[in-house]
Amino acid sequence: MLRDIRVSCSPHISGPLSTRRVMVDVIIGLVPAMVAAGYYFRVRAFILVATCVLSAAATEWLCNLIRKKSNSLGDFSAVVTGVILALSLPPSLPIWAAIIGSVFSIAIGKMVFGGLGANIFNPAMAGRTFLTVSFGALMTTWTVPATISVEMPRIAQENVYDFRTQATPLGWSKLAIKNKLGADIYTEGQFKATIIGEVGGCLGETSVIALLFGGFYLLIRRTISFHIPLAVLVSAFVFAAIAYRTDSYAYVQPFFHLTSGGLLLCAFFIATDPVTAPLTRKGMWLFGIGVGTITMLIRIVGEYPEGVMFSVLLMNAATPLIDRLFKKIPVGGKPKL
């Protein structure tokens, strides 16, 4: 017999999706990139990912304790931040620096704003920026992937150096442009290497194939919509193509810009962070175009070889304005007052 009658407002049924599921999907989408990182950078990749995830989770737990809020680790958003931060770090980064980055990401990037959903900037990119600004040298030291067995010129005694390093593909091209050597010389051989990921760079950004796999998984699962990735990639390509057409000697081919550096990681996993991206479809287009264009501005015109991090943060700051610009209008038009 019915004894306990429950009431609540409608609807009384609920779809299967949860925040945790969304976050787990993003983590699954990042697995190919993590595997590629493990393949090319071996134990360093594992150490960095584990460090970042653990310290991010610990920071979130501690912040909730201080704020006297209930534990929010269950939504896995801290894990996502940790993974994305780790994948955007250079493999040779010391563990203590990774911990500082993770703590900054969660504590300053997210929790001071009020936790998940309230942060203005992408937490992982905030942490990475903090590291770049604080430890510039560490953040621009690029390890040669373990699969490459080139003899490095010995600059010191054997066993003194920790890592063999090289410049990233974008670093090469930047150098080439600066020295008026002709960018194409350096990029031709590297184009194939960027597809499979056998180049220097951040942990997770090197392998195009792995990132595309993960990105398509998210698209198929509808965890992300195609608008932002497409807008980022197309606008970046168009910008690079214009630069290449104006001076093909000074600038690298546009495709090279898409496959190298963090552009794919950004397009599928960083710029699509729902919290810091616009809500409306039109807003997503504008946001994506902004990210792609600013990235290319920094890469081609600016001094840095890579600009994904700053472009995402800049567009994050513009997100509330974009949302206001593209306000939804009811299907029946604006009501007559």
Partner: protein, 457 residues
Amino acid sequence: MKVSVKSRYSFGGGTHPPEKKDLTRESPIQAGPAVGEVAVMLSQHIGAVCRPLIRKGAAVQAGQKIGDCDAFVSAPVHSPMTGKVKQIALRSHAVLGRSLAIVVEALPHHPKRRPYFELGDDFDEEDYSVEQVCEAVREAGIAGMGGAGFPTRVKIEPNPQLPKETLIINGCECEPYITCDYRIMLEWTNQIIAGIKLARKASGCSRVLIGIEDNKPQAIEAMNAALSASAARENMKVVPVRTKYPQGGERQLIKAILKKNVPTGGIPPMIGVVVLNVATVAAIAEAVVCNVPLTHRVVTVTGEAIAKPGNYYVAIGTSVEDLLDFCGSVTQKSAKVVLGGPMMGIAIADLKTPVTKTTNAVTVLTKEQIGRAKFARRQTPCIRCGRCLQVCPENLNPTKIAHAVKNNLLDVAESYYMSACIECGCCSYVCPANIELTGYIKTGKIFKARQKQKMPP
């Protein structure tokens, strides 16, 4: 079952909750419980509340008018059975909380099995004048039986300011679980056709479009067959529409079939359209041809927590408790009893709540389903994923409205067009953070109405 038609007629947004119509789909309309007492609400529809026409202790006949009102937007109420007025007292009302009802103690009687008549193909609406139809509809107390309960006479009667040209018959029944309209379309097909013709004549519409979701191929077939058998069927057409919630919403149905938008805050006659539910047109036929008032309606009693789900022809005023007992009672200790479907229905706390003209279903959800539903799960912060914006059939920004209401910023909420919300529940349904978006928006609308002092606190 084969799905023979896939329709391209649809609207933007919407979602696909599990249909769950199999519970009662094959259950024919049966006579409802023989109850000893009914409580006929004096407020059963949108518009003015009726005042009682009889005193306590008076004898009433089945079909006697017991409550009426002089206001334009109103409909009278009738006693469903012969008996004595026991009292005029407050009863729980699904929307208004508590409201006056006339409690009729019935003489021993047998529940009605079928509507009064079987119409042949020789029915001719020319036998009835426009005034006759409108008057009969008004006197029978017919109000929209799909949910909102707008007095039908006001909808169909000719209005020189807003001439009507298209009559849309709503047979979508997009809510999960509910099958009463489906059964009516299968079993009372001719009656519906007759009602459509009468409504067409009264409203002066030149064409009739019958919208049915494409998950009901048998209903589409039955209506098509009845149409082709009937006389004067020119400009009448069945339009299969895509199965998607809330396809049965008036504005969504018009958008799907006519590709026209009803202005925000406006009503369908502004674009020359009238929308009537299939159960309503069946009642119109009954009222006009047999002069029988609306005292019974088909109610789907369904849900996983009910022993004998089915479609029943129930006296209006029957308490939900009697209805549930008749259907083998609730099999669980803990459940949620919802008047209507799970997406837009209202959960009731008092099982003595009587069935009204707008009660199309009683859905009893199990504890497990309640556990999966929003309020039992923890609400987490909005991650701005934008899914609510994608599913909103009215193209609103539910998360912005809900958060504005949450922070008591009604003007901000209104600047995101809060009042355009149709409260379909799609946003709450899809929200991964379990936020009661629809609940917040409903609350905001009530606050707004109180601010304008349209509603007592």
